[in-house]
Each structure stands twice: as structure tokens, then as C-alpha cells.
Amino acid sequence: MRKVVLSLGILVSSVTWAVTGVAFVHGTGDHRGAGVEYWTSEFINSVVSGLPDRSKYVVVACDFTQYMWKDAAAGCLANYLYNFIVSQGIDDLVVITHSNGGNVIRWILSNPTWDPRYPTIINAIRWVNALAPSSGGTPLADAAINGTVFEQGVAWLLGYKTDAVRQQQVSWMQYYNNNWLKGTPGRPSLPVGFWTVVGTDVESAIWDPDSYCGGYQYNAALEVTQEWLTSCSDGFLDCWSQKLAGSVWFYDYQYMAGGEPLSHQQSRRACFGLDVILRNDL
């Protein structure tokens, strides 16, 4: 079981000769040319300040409106990771994913013969820190496909009926998990650790300053979509879905400042110390 290091002490790595890098992999949506906006510079700069060499990071910007296996999705992600690994000599890569980005990296980890670049990528990865991954899909995707979008506040998650939304329907994800992806119960384990951070609730009280981290309007919209989910959810994903693949690293209330929950919007932002935990993990 991995532990979260909350102190700011210097971590002495047993692999001091390794060249450590970090990759940020966004979630659903077409973020070509806008990878940094997905995470914000504040979040990225905070996390990479934990690197021995702060320049050794890459922010992926691909079209994740597509099925995960498409060239525009997994192919584009492989381009970023492979070029980063080879050009920077990275042999200790920490991949940080959000939401559907966890599925796309799982595609690469699960299908090593799909693309000759995949084994190089897999062998360079130390582990994946999967923030609120949509490993089991979400009933919101089913509803979005069977109707239209929910709210403008979740348009970044559930745009018009894209293939990525289609793919994240619950029964579809079970199909992909059972046939194409590794890491879920009863399936072979992934070749590297897939450590999930699980968001358990959404707070959007207008008088609560915590509700404003990440943007009040986004959190308010996720409070509405929670009606579609179980009592443990981050407004987009049920907890069971987030922890279906890999191993739980921690639940938000265990390590976030003040025991705050992370909504699906907040798990990609510098909210409640998440960025510091990820920084200390490098």
C-alpha cells in the first residue's frame, strides 16, 4: 500500500541514477493546443517543482473525444510519451491522468502489441497516478448519449454525443474492461501500478469558500449531476467506477486539507493540497 507523504521533507530516492519525468494526461474532450488550460499553470508548476529537473515534464494535448484506441487518442498520447521519453532520456516516468485519460493510458498499458512504441513507453513508466479515473464508466454518459447534454457546467465532461462519451457508458466500459483493458477484478494486472485518487463528494454551498476552488459554477453543476449517481461520487463518477481498475492510493477525505472532498472539477486543480501530494510523489 502506498502512503501519502504529507511533509515537505526531501525524499531520498533509491533510484538516484534514474531520469525522472512527469506527464499530465487530460480527460474527455478535444484539448489539442489547450493541454495546460485543462490543468492550469498553477497546478502544473506546483507539481513539477518536485522534479529534480523541473524541465522534465510534458503536458499532453490530444483529441479525447475519440474512442480510446484511435490514433487521435491513444496514438496521440503515445506520440507525446514516446518522444518525451526518447528525447529527454526519461526512464522513470510518472504519469498523472484525470478522468478518461486513465482509460487512454490503460489502453497503452494493456495492449503492448498494438503499436511498436508501446513497450518502450510501458518500460519507462514508474506508475500512473490516476485522478478520478472513469474506469467503470458513468451513468451520466448513458444519459448523455440517450438524450442530450446535461448542463453547461459539465459540458467539458459531456459534450455532444462524442465517441468518448459513448465509450464511457457503464456497459461499454465493462466490455472494454473485460476484453481490451487490464487492471480490473478478474483481469490480468497492469504492467505498472495504477494508483487511483477517489473523489467522494461535491460541495457547492454558496457560503462555503471551499466550493469555489476550481470554480463555483462547475461544482454547482456537478452537484446536480450527483442526482444521477450513488451517494459516493464526485459529481461525474461513482466511487466504485473510480476505483475499479488498479489500486486505491487514497480517498479525498483521507488526505485533502480539512478532509475536503474533491469534485470531478477539483481533482484537476490545485485544491486542498492535491498538487502538493502529487509533487511529493515524484
Binding site: Y67, W69, K70, D71, P112, T113, W114, D115, P116, P119, I122, N123, I125, R126, W127, D142, A143, N146, G147, T148, V149, F150, E151, Q152, G153, G159, Y160, D163, R166, Q167, Q169, V170, S171, W172, Q174, Y175, N178, N179, W180, G186, R187, P188, S189, P191, V192, G193, A220, A221, V224, E227, W228, T230
Partner: protein, 414 residues
């Protein structure tokens, strides 16, 4: 936790291997006719032969079932004209969530329909004289494309009339009404017989309306299969002693990306409560572009990789993958050794795909018998699972008889 993938180059030094065994693991004649269809991706042509260690504690289920849906919701299409007159909503528990949304075929169409609905919708309990709107609006955005409401808990459950007034839409405009009762004891359970079918096969889905474990007779059922490009194939239903099965033959002329879906709508009555439910589930459908011939050859030798050549018959040229899970057999115990995974470009005709366990993975894992489980054939050019779940055993390396040098057994003096 990190496992290194071992990529071996494509050598075939069979002459160095001193034991080989022919294995027949399935009856080839039982398969459907192969077809030649186009690819959906430009796949690499480079052969890749990989092996990875398999965790000792790993429990792999090689017989994963198809998705079992347990639906506590239903949905139906209506029109602006019908919504203006009022449409019926049946609920089984208080506090159902309603979603009403325009159906659009493009994002532009959605924009035109934006805001046409949300301010004007109300619900009343059927037969009630109350004029108070029974809906609590959950949606917090004025310009939302979808209106989300909760029926006020104090109104309880039963039949309601949902009505929209002064709709700013053409009367023929289509809407979807979606009712979700996540705390209801009434569940529509559906499950296909498997999660991947071949074109030409018949999909079969069991359909049960349940209150906890009690089965409820269906008064109405209908459904269809939906292809990824929107083609609909009606589902037929058969009732055998109260067990309802939906079925349809899967026909398609062209290849599509993504899964097919079945959508089933039912209703029934229990103790005066009308229950309506819908189920929509994705299933994989593949064209039979290739198949396993059912023959394999295992090559086992001391100080050499373990190789298994899997026979494949191909109708559609493309990149094909075979994977399997290697176990050593110690009595009745299976000892996990490695995941074997290989892919290469195959032209039409018969060929083999080589699975290879690197000898480093076999260090201290020599067995007199091995087992390959979960043999799967994948068409990577068409993103299709073609066959899966086969297993077979083969003989391991047997040391030659000793030429002396061992201990002389002690004999008892007479």
C-alpha cells in the same frame, strides 16, 4: 509494482528445440464462414512477440460474463405537441428524478433548441385537484439544454401528468423523457448470453422484471438492436414458462466502429403499481475475418525460450494478435508464469502466430506439463475480438535419462 515487458526478436530456431508437440484444441468445422472486410485503422506491419511475468497471486477469470444490467429507470420519446397536452409518468417510489431534453442530430440543432423548454414544465398527480406544480427544479442554469427535476417527495409515487406550456418549439420537435428511480425495489435485469458476437450469429438476451428476487409478469415488451451507424434491427421475444428471451440475427454489410447496443422497454404491474423500465446495453459485434485453426505446436527445450505456434486462418488481410496465459502444472496446481502476447501482419490464407516465453521467465519454473489459458484471437486492424477463452495443455521439458554419476541406492543385506 512494475513488470518488465520482454520483447524478443522474431527468431525461429526450431532446429535447436528438441521437443515439439502437436495440439488440437478446438473443432475448426464449427465456425462460421470467414469474410473479407476493410480495415478501420492503418495498423503497423512489424511483428511483435512479447512476454511478461504473471503475478503468483493473480486470479484471472477467463469466462467473464456479459454485462448484467439492473435498470431502475425508463425513457421514451415524445413530441412538443404531446408534451403540451401532457404525457404520463409512472413512478414506484417518491422523489423520482426526471430529465426532459430535446433530441437533436447535431450540436447546431441543439443550439436552436436551447432554452425552448426549461421555464414551462410542470407535473401534477393524476386525479388530484391540486394545482401546485409537483416539480422541484434541480437544474441551476437558465440556458440549460436539459431540464432536470425531482418530483416532490410529499406527492408520493404513482401516476403523474407531465405538461409543458407555451413551448417555444415546432409541435413535431422530439423530446426524450427520462425517469430515474435509483432507490426503487423494481429492477429490469437484462443480460446477453455473451459479450461479443460475430456477424451472422443471433444475439440472445434474457429479460426479467424483478422486485428484489420476485419475478413480475410483463404486460408489455419491445426492443431493438442498434448498430453503431444507427441501423435498427427489431428484437423478437419468446416466452418459455415465464422466462422471456429477446433475440435477433445480427446482420451488417459494412464494418462500423464501436459497439452495438440492445435497447429493451418493458412494463408490468405489481400490487396495483405500474412499473416501467428500459435497458440499453453495449455488445461487441465482429466480422469473422479470421479464426484459430484449432492447431498449435509447442516447442520446449532446455535453455531455450518456450514457443507455441498457434494456427490462424485469415480471410481479411490485416494485423492479428494472439495472446494466452502460461501456467506450469504441479499436480493439480496451476503455477502462473507469463502473459504471452504476439501480433503480426497476416495475408489471406493459413499462417501461424508465435507465442514465446522468454527463458528468463522460465528460470526455476520448469514443469513436466504446461497449460495455456485464455487463448484469444484479435483483429487489430478492425478492433475486433474474434475468438477467446480456449485452453490447452502440453508436455514440458523432460530431462534425458542419466548416464551415471548419481548415488548408488543402498540395498538391504539379506
Amino acid at each position: 509494482m512494475k513488470k518488465t515487458i520482454i520483447l524478443t526478436c522474431s527468431i525461429t530456431a526450431l532446429s535447436l528445440l528438441n521437443a515439439q508437440e502437436l495440439i488440437i484444441f478446438k473443432n475448426e468445422n464449427s465456425e462460421s464462414q470467414l469474410v473479407n472486410v476493410r480495415s478501420v485503422r492503418k495498423a503497423p506491419t512489424q511483428e511483435m512477440i512479447l512476454s511478461m511475468p504473471l503475478d503468483n497471486k493473480q486470479q484471472i477469470n477467463f469466462n467473464q460474463e456479459a454485462f448484467k444490467d439492473a435498470s431502475r429507470e425508463y425513457w421514451y420519446k415524445t413530441t412538443a405537441a404531446e408534451l403540451s397536452k401532457g404525457v404520463k409518468i409512472d413512478t414506484t417510489v417518491p422523489g423520482a428524478i426526471l430529465r426532459v431534453a430535446p433530441i437533436a442530430n447535431s450540436p447546431n440543432e441543439l443550439e436552436i433548441k436551447r432554452n425552448a423548454l426549461s421555464p414551462n414544465i410542470s407535473i401534477y398527480k393524476q386525479g388530484s385537484s391540486s394545482t401546485e406544480n409537483g416539480l422541484k427544479t434541480l437544474s441551476q442554469e437558465e440556458a440549460s439544454l436539459t431540464s432536470i427535476f425531482k418530483i416532490k417527495e410529499e406527492l408520493g409515487s404513482g401516476s403523474f401528468i407531465l405538461k409543458a406550456q407555451n413551448l417555444n418549439a415546432d409541435p413535431s420537435t422530439e423530446y426524450i423523457v427520462h425517469v430515474r428511480e435509483k432507490d426503487s425495489p423494481f429492477v429490469l435485469a437484462t443480460q446477453a448470453t455473451k459479450d461479443t458476437y460475430l456477424v451472422g450469429e443471433s444475439i440472445q438476451v434474457t429479460v426479467e422484471l424483478l422486485k428484489e428476487d420476485e419475478k413480475i409478469d410483463l404486460s408489455h415488451y419491445e426492443g431493438y438492436l442498434l448498430s453503431p451507424n444507427g441501423d435498427k434491427i427489431p428484437l423478437s421475444f419468446k416466452d418459455e414458462n415465464g422466462t422471456i428471451t429477446a433475440y435477433a440475427k445480427i446482420n451488417s454489410r459494412d464494418i462500423h466502429q464501436g459497439l452495438w447496443e440492445y435497447e429493451i422497454h418493458v412494463s408490468g404491474n405489481k400490487d396495483g403499481i405500474k412499473v416501467r423500465r428500459s435497458s440499453g446495453v453495449g455488445v461487441g459485434v465482429s466480422f469473422p475475418t479470421a479464426r484459430l485453426t484449432g492447431e498449435a505446436r509447442a516447442f520446449v527445450a532446455k535453455n531455450a525460450p518456450l514457443e507455441i505456434h498457434i494456427g490462424v486462418e485469415v480471410a481479411s488481410p490485416g494485423r492479428y494478435e494472439v495472446k494466452g496465459y502460461l501456467y506450469g502444472l504441479a499436480g493439480s496446481r496451476e503455477v502462473p508464469i507469463a502473459v504471452l502476447d504476439s501480433a503480426k501482419w497476416l495475408e489471406s490464407g493459413k499462417d501461424v502466430i508465435t507465442l514465446r516465453a522468454d527463458k528468463r521467465l522460465l528460470r526455476n519454473k520448469k514443469f513436466r506439463k504446461y497449460r495455456i489459458k485464455g487463448v484469444t484471437l484479435i483483429d487489430q486492424s478492425r478492433v475486433a475480438i474474434l475468438e477467446k477463452g480456449y485452453s490447452f495443455d502440453f508436455t514440458g521439458y523432460t530431462p534425458p535419462p542419466s548416464n551415471g554419476g548419481g548415488n548408488i541406492p543402498l540395498r538391504q543385506k539379506q
